[in-house]
């Protein structure tokens, strides 16, 4: 198994607060990888470092062997890296279709002139990418709401569109930040099956942040556990379940009364 993403010694400091402290792990190509840890452990900060919103204080992130630490966020998209946000960050006034099309922004090329005239290249491109976007719409079962403005949709559907927008890029690596937060069990099951399909049918490498440990243990190939910015565990679900540090972080220490 070759790694698609190698994170090495990443530290991130905000003033006196160490959000991430020398974190090292790697993600293999084609696996489902989970990042877990208590609230405030630095999981979202970690994703922000990977997608380029935060500049780590030190360390290195390599995507397929290529150092990406100095790349701008919009440049990283062209590598085939997509992300869904924890707090829905959709474009509320745009339709589902347009949100997903925007996910393919970096794959399209029409500009100020061809777009404004809507002849030849621009219209062909719009139609070709519409076809691709419709595949994602079908995959996530969003057909009936494709023309609805996203802001008017209920929470669960917005979460699904959020994942869809990332998926529309046709990414090799997709970063999902708590895609199941606030969902009921039926919705969680549905999202889990989408994630499994992404992995098995589309051959996408999935990075998942999730609090529901049952789902994490069931889905993941490998897991990294963060606590107060430190990596306290890294391995297969089985290894993580037996890791004393992880148990301590989640359940607390055994005390003798």
């Amino acid at each position: 198994m070759e790694p698609i993403l190698e994170v090495e010694g990443i530290s991130l400091q905000f003033g006196g607060v160490k959000a991430l402290d020398n974190v090292t792990y790697h993600i293999n190509k084609g696996e489902i990888f989970s990042l877990i840890g208590p609230n405030g452990a630095g999981k979202t900060s970690m994703l922000n470092c990977i997608s380029g919103l935060y500049q780590p204080t030190s360390g290195s992130i390599r995507y397929k062997g290529q150092e990406i630490i100095n790349m701008k966020p919009y440049e990283r998209t062209t590598l085939g890296m997509a992300r869904a946000f924890q707090n829905i960050a959709l474009f509320a006034h745009m339709s589902v279709l347009d949100n997903l099309k925007l996910g393919r922004h970096s794959l399209m090329s029409s500009g100020v002139f061809s777009g404004g005239l809507y002849v030849g290249k621009a219209s062909n491109e719009e139609i070709a990418h519409r076809r691709k976007v419709e595949e994602v719409i079908e995959f996530l079962e969003l057909q009936d709401i494709r023309h609805t403005p996203v802001g008017t949709l209920p929470y669960g559907l917005q979460k699904r569109v959020e994942v869809g927008r990332a998926l529309a890029l046709g990414p090799e690596l997709i970063l999902l930040d708590e895609p199941m937060a606030g969902m009921n069990n039926a919705e969680k099951d549905m999202m889990s099956s989408f994630i499994l399909d992404m992995h098995e049918v589309m051959d996408t490498t999935v990075v998942l942040i999730e609090h529901d440990l049952g789902i994490v243990m069931g889905l993941s190939d490998h897991i990294a556990v963060l606590d107060f910015g430190k990596r306290i565990g890294f391995g297969t679900p089985k290894e993580i379940q037996q890791n004393p540090d992880v148990i301590k972080a989640y359940i607390g220490e055994e005390t003798v009364i």
């Binding site: 966020p73 992300r83 922004h105």
Partner: protein, 353 residues
């Protein structure tokens, strides 16, 4: 062809290209052509005075669409529109009067020059948002007007410059009617361009920058590039509008591009509807005709109450502000939203349940 008065009751499109057409049904196409035909026939029935007013409406609409691309679609507030109109007007004045360039070349050039200057003043938008950006664009307004009124050797200073009406061969567009047609043709191109742009890649990126700039960045949008691009495209149309206006009134002078012009244009897109091409036109027409409507109302009232004239002459500013406040409270979506609601209502009328 199907009956024009029967509305579609479902979605009968069978291909993506059908679904993405600008005029999706034959009805919509005929309707658009009808509107163009009616507008083209206006000079035959309207008086010269009204043709002149409508020309001003068309020119203001071009500028309002320009401003809406920036403020309504990309979410970057600008209160320097007045000055950018001035840049367009002066660019065309200098090109045609000083250098003898033909109007047909100077019009697009005026747009391009304004686009470059607009893009330049758009650079702070990377760091500044909302109110802070508004103040930065206010600086553009002040700086540009300062340059215009002090650079006497080029711009003629406070006394301004005179321009001539454009000519096609030996035919000069001196009549209101001919200039009306010119403005309408430019307006139609502007509408088509803006509508097309906003449904393709660049326009979507603009909306994304407005709605969620951080997410837009992660989706592969270079914020800086697109913000500056929005400033440039917007300024291009404002510049075109300024040049058209200058050749229509045949004069440019600094006080025509005052701060209150910027406010008027902001009022146009607020009242018309932020983020709507059609709304920009409605707003531009509304604001352009508002003083006309008010003064004719004053004329009628003074016949009965002669003393009122003194009070009512200040009425324009009052109504102007009052209308904006009313719209912000009761219909933030603007005239465009009212129009949509009316359309929805009549779609099912009289069986709206």
């Amino acid at each position: 062809m199907r009956n024009l008065f029967v509305r579609e009751c479902g979605n009968y499109k069978t291909s993506y290209s059908d679904d993405m057409k600008l005029f999706g049904t034959s009805g919509a196409k005929v309707k658009a052509l009808l509107i163009v035909a009616v507008v083209a026939l206006v000079p035959m029935i309207a008086s010269n005075y009204w043709v002149g007013l409508l020309t001003l409406c068309a020119i203001a609409s071009i500028g309002a669409i320009g401003l809406n691309i920036l403020t309504g679609f990309t979410g970057q507030i600008s209160i320097g529109v007045g000055a950018f109109l001035g840049v367009g007007g002066y660019a065309s004045a200098i090109l045609t009067s000083t250098y003898g360039v033909s109007f047909w070349i100077s019009l697009p050039l005026a747009g391009l020059i304004t686009a470059v200057i607009g893009g330049l003043f758009g650079i702070p938008s990377l760091r500044l948002k909302g109110l802070y950006l508004a103040i930065a664009t206010l600086a553009a307004q002040v700086i540009i007007l300062f340059v215009i009124s002090r650079w006497t050797s080029v711009t003629g200073g406070t006394s301004g410059m005179t321009l001539s009406r454009p000519e096609i061969g030996s035919f000069a567009l001196t009549s209101n009617t001919s200039y009306f047609y010119l403005s309408i043709i430019v307006l139609i191109f502007t509408i088509l361009y803006a509508t097309n742009l906003l449904r393709t890649r660049v326009g979507r990126a603009f909306l994304a920058v407005r709605d969620r700039d951080i997410a837009a960045q992660i989706m592969g949008i270079n914020l800086f590039q697109y913000k500056v691009m929005a400033f440039a495209i917007s300024s291009f149309f404002v510049g075109i509008s300024g040049a058209l206006l200058a050749h229509y009134t045949m004069i440019v002078s600094p006080e025509l591009y005052d701060f209150h012009v910027s406010i008027e244009y902001l009022a146009m897109i607020l009242i018309g509807g932020l983020g709507s091409v059609f709304g920009s036109i409605l707003g531009a027409v509304f604001i352009t005709l508002l003083p006309v409507g008010l003064s004719s109302m004053v004329d009628i009232l003074t016949v009965y109450m002669p003393d009122l004239y003194q009070i009512l002459s200040a009425f324009k500013e009052f109504v102007f502000g009052f209308v904006i406040i009313l719209f912000l409270i009761f219909e933030p979506g603007g005239l465009a939203h009212i129009w949509l609601n009316m359309k929805k209502y009549f779609k099912l009328w009289p069986f709206s349940y």
